[in-house]
Symmetry: C2
Subunit: 357 residues, 2 copies
């Protein structure tokens, strides 16, 4: 029915939205910067006072309320298949938004909203299962859904179900993704690539469900513990979801005007994930994670040791590791030191993994 | 691709979600009550303190913050066609959420989030047009989009575009939808049925675009003026969207444990809307509105006159009228007095208008 606004095959791709615009990389960022964030009255008298929002392109917005910040963040979830090893679309929808709040420093959500679009004919039993999964994930994160909306589209008008969650939380201090300086260390809170590889393996029938498993989890408790131990040493934070660690580091480095060097041998990757990625021709650095954070830590070895210790003491942070550091150089440049040589880390652009979250 | 969880034709409808579950009436309320609001930890120690939320099934949730309330509300928008007389999906997505905030008393939104799901191949030009429409609606409402998300689904996996907006706002006093008492008057802020009839007429090629026009508009300014003039006399408020005035009144009456009588001759309906509704076999009371509010007003003629005067002084409230009152009787019962007799007003259930918002 959307044929009237669909661009015919063969038309230059810049005139149509394509799958790569949803891949979390450069194409998506350009679409957002060139179209979706333009024109809003963010400084005029009709705009309420808010500080970090659309133009900062952080994981969410921060609005000054009282003597702190109200953090607001939103995500649509269209993952396929809706049930996968380690989770389902319901768990993902809760964790994705809880984690985005946590990345801004709001580790105790005030609540989430949940807006569900269903296809006519969708199974009630499946909906109930997804709902139970959302309830369980909320309990893990110590939060709840406070309001919602339900829409139904006709058969063939949506592929089953899509869930958009929005989270609100308060924090005294915002942790931006753009807070890096030369000399800061980069810490990842655990193994990378698990979510995306589990999804791809499931789609291709590559492995038994218990070998490759999504890492989808609410990391707000983990982040809260790290922030409490860090005493201000965590100066930047972002979760490496769509586009993986590569896109995440590109964005953090570019916004912070630093370059980053990553040391490949110390990047934590499960052997099964590494093998599956090789088989699928994928770079684990470009693969989505749903239960990890990347933190910029300042203050030298003592500070880093303190943050690592608090992360590793948490069940979700046992594999936390320092993977690199911020260095002088071209803003936004990310280099991988393999131990044998150095190569540029490419940001995802033309080779997306559609519907990975 | 969702075939695995789609219930086959012929299976009892209670085992599958159907279009009527998105129609704003009884079936939808049952789905929400029986499934989507169950299980959350809203009182336990892991839950943050919040007062009006899922179990109250109001237009949004209210969370105590400082000496006031943080109101949060969310809506998915899947309207078809995406451009219609009087608006488009972008304008609708902003107004729908601004209005839900206003219905709770939060008439100055802190900001909105915008989560867009696009179909691979969707026209960039059309997306830009929708975006401009969102920007314009935000300016009308005195707010802005503060953060967002973009996902792309494959061709045939979603019909063009769906937009979920969430709004946050602060208010000193919540106006509930359940605040009615016997004796309160019911005021509607303007003509009814315009949005749904314009949509249906467009789909059926019934009329020129300028004859039947959606009323989609941000009513927060109108509501703010009315609340300021009312001095506490507006005791309940709700917007008659999906399911129309009928569902809206049923819900307000049921939650307030009162009955309601509506006087048909004084219900404001445009002649063209009345004619088109007759032609289509639809009851204007059951048709969606996107720029109207129903208010319960207490305090007798003086209070009602004050509220009406402030509404009629606003461009969006010129046709405001008293349409009925709360009476003793069976809780949730809504009766229409036609001037010649009385009939029960049915709530929408089995005859939905799919994708009306």
């Amino acid at each position: 029915m959307s044929g009237a606004v669909r661009v015919a095959a063969g038309v230059p791709s810049e005139r149509a939205v394509t799958l790569k615009h949803g891949a979390g990389g450069r194409a998506m960022r350009r679409l957002i910067e060139e179209t979706l964030t333009t024109g809003y009255d963010t400084a005029g008298e009709s705009a309420p006072a808010w500080a970090i929002g659309l133009t900062a392109l952080d994981d969410g917005a921060a609005i000054p309320v009282g003597d702190g910040w109200l953090v607001v963040t939103t995500d649509a979830h269209v993952i396929h298949p809706i049930v996968f090893p380690g989770g389902d679309i319901g768990r993902l929808a809760i964790c994705g938004t809880v984690n985005d709040l946590a990345m801004m420093g709001a580790t105790e959500p005030l609540g989430l909203t949940c807006s569900i679009i269903l296809e006519d004919g969708f199974s009630r039993a499946e909906l109930e299962r997804i709902h139970r999964s959302m309830v369980a994930a909320c309990r893990e994160a110590g939060t709840t859904v406070v309001t919602g909306d339900t829409k139904v589209m006709g058969r063939g008008e949506i592929d089953g179900i899509a869930i958009t969650t929005t989270g609100v939380g308060l924090t005294r201090a915002i942790v931006p993704d753009a807070g890096l300086r030369v000399g800061d260390c980069l810490v990842v809170t655990g193994t990378i690539g698990d979510h995306g590889i589990a999804l791809m393996a499931k789609r291709h029938g590559l492995a038994a469900d218990d070998v490759l498993c999504s890492d989808v989890a609410p990391v707000n408790g983990l982040v809260r513990a790290a922030l409490a131990s860090a005493d201000g040493a965590i100066v930047a934070m972002k979760d490496p979801t769509r586009g993986g660690v590569a896109s995440c580091l590109h964005e953090m480095a570019g916004k912070s005007s630093v370059a980053i060097t990553i040391h490949e041998p110390v990047v934590p990757i499960r052997p099964a994930v590494r093998s599956a990625a090789e088989l699928l021709g994928l770079d684990p650095l470009q693969i989505a994670n749903e239960g990890k954070a990347i933190m910029g830590v300042r203050g030298g070895e003592t500070a880093v040791a303190r943050v690592l210790a608090s992360l590793r003491a948490h069940p979700l942070g046992r594999d936390a590791a320092v993977i690199g550091e911020c260095v002088p150089g071209e803003s936004g440049r990310v280099v991988l030191d393999t131990g044998f040589g150095r190569r540029l880390v490419a940001e995802v652009d033309g080779d997306p993994l559609p519907r990975i979250c």
